[in-house]
């Protein structure tokens, strides 16, 4: 059996590891932001497939967005009445497949997903899956070589863009030869890819959707994935520009078709993209929930929003308790009632600090005066405290009415104070006054208000409150700190003050 000191050390260590570990996991692996105030962009992609079914069974296949290491899907759903849906992987290509035994009339299938990009650097580091090879006929090859001849041969983004610019310069005879039968966007991109390959780049022709806010009826764009050795960039052959990884969703990486409809005709597909700004942690929570991560699935984020707000308030309470522990056991401040300051600090959250302090002093001060009369009445304990409770209610009412008459709405906030706690505070202070005099009452009263104010300042800090809400597991760390203080046997600040005369002698 371990000694209790050893157990405490182990327990505190364990709490620290688990608390910080869970928080680090959420930050680094689930993409939780450090601050709740961080926002990020979520892209909604909506695909619309329209076709005319023929007689008999129908099968529709849509190439789904390719895996992008940086892309996190927050939600996805589809609307396709009468069709069975499943997602399949065929020849390394991810497909959505809709099947129906029969269908009649024009059919419309919607598919929608929301996603955001966590870290684009990851995607830029992945190698190309199928780089293209040169397959131009001899005539075109000569033109291409001529075009590339007087260019810098080193591999860089700058030089790659120069090649594209050359290809897009009108009036050049070599360009005209190259593009004679290849003017469609896809062919043009293919030629650009050939040129880059000949210039020594590793290139892949990909197709995808350009992410643009409120873009309806988007068509498929052609892009070139170009490897620059250590990193991969995405080029638009028409615009001579490099495209950031978080502005596109790639659908086709190879030659696979985008849409296939068996048993129907006249099919077409369009895409719409919308940009949504929202709190970064919401996306992280939803992405983790989408991936059925147990840490998130069984957390307070699974509660309805209103309950989450209740917990947001509860989660800061331990911080107030920590302030009490520190002030009482490390500093040595005396308070009236152990955790009364935390409850008062909680009230300050509703009333704001200055108003709260004023109201507290008024209520307790008037309460003490009224209570001093009770001292001479010779009452039993419980009826006496009950009377103080009635006094407190009367004082609440008087403050509320008078402050409203004087045009100060702040006085109404007095009702946020916990009545029972205030009654007991008044009772305790009154007894302390009788026994030890007003000096002690001032010391305890001041200590309580100081503790409550510090607890309030910590609990009301939005950075602190948000952090605890985002990473509730940090409460385990807090528990570790409290337990560690519980075994602290060194001097309190008040000991140093109190034994100071001994040092001088």
């Amino acid at each position: 059996m371990l000694s209790s000191a050893r157990q405490v050390q182990l327990l505190v260590g364990l709490l620290f590891v688990v608390g910080f570990g869970a928080a680090a996991y959420k930050h680094f692996f689930l993409g939780f932001p450090l601050l709740a105030s961080e926002t990020e962009t979520v892209w909604q992609l909506e695909g619309r497939i329209v076709f005319e079914p023929g007689e008999g069974p129908v099968e529709v296949r849509l190439n789904l967005p390719d895996g992008n290491a940086a892309r996190r899907v927050v939600s996805s759903d589809f609307a396709s009445p009468g069709f069975d849906y499943e997602e399949i992987v065929e020849d390394g290509v991810w497909l959505g497949r809709w099947k129906a035994e029969r269908a009649s009339g024009t059919q419309v299938i919607y598919i929608r997903s929301q996603s955001y990009f966590a870290d684009t650097a990851e995607e830029a580091e992945r190698p190309l899956s199928k780089p293209m090879t040169v397959n131009l006929d001899d005539a075109l090859k000569v033109s291409a070589e001529a075009l590339l001849k007087d260019l810098d041969q080193t591999v860089s983004q700058e030089n790659a863009l120069k090649i594209l610019r050359k290809l897009n310069r009108p009036g050049d005879s070599r360009v005209a030869t190259l593009l004679r039968d290849n003017s469609s966007p896809a062919k043009r991109t293919q030629i650009a890819g050939q040129l880059l390959t000949m210039a020594g780049y590793s290139v892949q022709h990909v197709r995808g959707i350009f992410l643009d806010d409120k873009a309806r009826s988007q068509s498929i764009y052609n892009f070139l994935e170009v490897s620059l050795g250590d990193k991969k960039i995405l080029l638009d052959a028409r615009e001579n520009a490099s495209i950031p990884w978080d502005r596109v969703i790639l659908l086709q990486r190879g030659d696979e078709p985008l849409l296939e409809v068996f048993g129907g005709n006249n099919s077409r597909t369009t895409f719409a993209t919308t940009k949504v700004q929202r709190a970064a942690f919401t996306s992280a929570v939803e992405a983790a929930g989408h991936a059925k991560n147990p840490l998130i699935d069984f957390s307070i984020y699974s509660l309805p929003l209103s309950e989450q707000n209740t917990f947001k308030l509860l989660l800061v309470m331990p911080l107030g308790a920590l302030v009490v522990v520190i002030l009482r056991n490390l500093v040595g401040i005396r308070t009236s009632g152990t955790f009364m300051p935390v409850l008062i600090a909680l009230t300050f959250l509703q009333t704001s600090l200055i108003t709260g302090l004023m109201l507290f002093i008024i209520v307790v001060g008037v309460g003490l005066v009224m209570r001093s009369y009770l001292s001479s009445l010779n009452l039993l304990l419980v009826p006496r405290i009950a009377s103080v409770l009635v006094f407190v209610i009367i004082i609440y009412g008087a403050i509320g009415v008078m402050s409203t008459k004087m045009g100060w709405q702040g006085g109404l906030k007095v009702t946020f104070f916990p009545m029972i706690i205030l009654s007991w505070t008044i009772e305790r202070m009154s007894i302390l006054w009788d026994e030890s005099g007003p000096h002690e009452v001032m010391i305890e009263g001041f200590g309580s208000l100081l503790t409550a104010s510090l607890a309030y300042l910590l609990m009301s800090n939005s950075f602190v409150a948000d952090t605890v809400f985002l990473y509730p597991e940090l409460l385990l760390v807090l528990l570790g700190v409290i337990i560690a203080i519980g075994t602290y046997s060194g001097y309190r600040l008040s000991d140093l003050r109190r034994f100071e005369p001994m040092e001088r002698h």
Binding site: S489, G490, R492, R498, F499, M502, H505
Partner: protein, 319 residues
């Protein structure tokens, strides 16, 4: 230089070197380890303490009666009428709260030691407050004890103002380790409570003579009211007093204990009460830290009789 000294703070290093025990150390190392929770009622309830003392044949102020129910209060007048002087105290009070000392009579009224009058109604209210738990820990209903007033020895003449001085001995594992006497002053309203301004005087463990005095945490040489030199104070029956303190351990079984003793003119040392959480001001009054003595006792032989324990201390203590 330690920044704290500008703020009137001692340096932790200096305190540690002189072996001062702080609040946290007292609570964690001494009280939590040596005083099991189940023993607390034995010392927190003075009625129980008295019964236990009687079992062990330890001298205590005589218990005249106890008032347990509000309904009994009306019988008080008749009960108290033959008693010229007495003390009413809550059985579960703490820190000297709720103790009413009656030293005499003036017609229907009672007189406190300082000559202030207390009417019978006021006395009844006080008892009622005791019963309803005003002075007890956590506001639990309590009983009121009526005790004989101690006829205090004359040896302390001039050292105390209007109150009964008592002697506090810290008893660690049954060994008396440090002592002080607490003298009431006009500041403390006749109460022997250091918080309220009583004078604490550290007592030499071997000879029972005064070491030095403190009031409000500051060293003083003379009693603030009577002007008597504190260094001339000598506690009589010192050895008997230490024996009595050591026996407090047998009564309570608590390893870290404060034993409060008064000296009766006729009956000698009487055990007034036991305290499971004795304060640390005794270190200031003695000008010494408790730690070296507690460490020494930790190495002392166990299972000694109280006489042997006192002898052990008297033989081995170097001051």
């Amino acid at each position: 230089m330690f920044l704290g000294s500008l703020l009137g703070l001692a340096s932790p290093k200096a305190l540690r070197e002189s072996g001062i025990v702080g609040m946290n150390q007292r609570n964690v190392r001494y009280i939590a380890r040596n005083n099991p929770r189940r023993l607390y009622p034995k010392v927190d309830n003075k009625y129980l303490t008295k019964l236990l003392c009687a079992e062990h044949g330890i001298a205590v102020p005589k218990l005249l009666g106890a008032c347990r129910l509000q309904g009994h209060i009306k019988e008080l007048k008749e009960f108290l009428s033959p008693l010229p002087c007495f003390v009413i105290k809550p059985a579960q009070g703490s820190g000297g709260k709720g103790i009413l000392v009656i030293a005499g009579r003036d017609g229907e009224d009672y007189l406190k030691p300082n000559g202030k009058r207390v009417t019978h109604d006021e006395l009844c209210r006080h008892v009622s407050n005791i019963l309803s738990g005003l002075f007890s820990l956590g506001g639990k209903p309590d009983i009121a004890l009526i005790e004989d007033m101690v006829k205090f020895t004359d040896d302390f003449q001039g050292f105390s103002f209007e109150g009964v001085p008592d002697i506090r001995v810290i008893v660690y594992k049954g060994f008396p380790v440090m002592a002080m006497t607490r003298l009431s002053t006009s500041d403390s309203d006749g109460k022997a409570n250091l918080h309220q301004g009583a004078v604490g005087v550290g007592i030499d463990m071997l000879k029972g003579v005064a070491l030095r005095g403190v009031q409000h945490g500051r060293p003083i040489e003379k009693h603030p009211d009577t002007g008597k030199l504190l260094s001339t104070l000598k506690v009589p029956h010192w050895r008997d007093l230490l024996m009595l303190a050591a026996r407090g351990y047998e009564v309570s079984q608590m390893g870290y204990l404060g034993v409060d003793i008064v000296l009766d003119r006729h009956e000698g040392p009487l055990l007034l009460e036991l305290n499971a959480r004795p304060g640390l001001a005794i270190q200031v009054a003695n000008g010494r830290g408790l730690r070296p003595r507690l460490d020494f006792i930790d190495k002392a032989p166990a299972n000694l009789s109280y006489k042997d324990r006192v002898n052990f201390v008297l033989e081995h203590w170097d001051q």
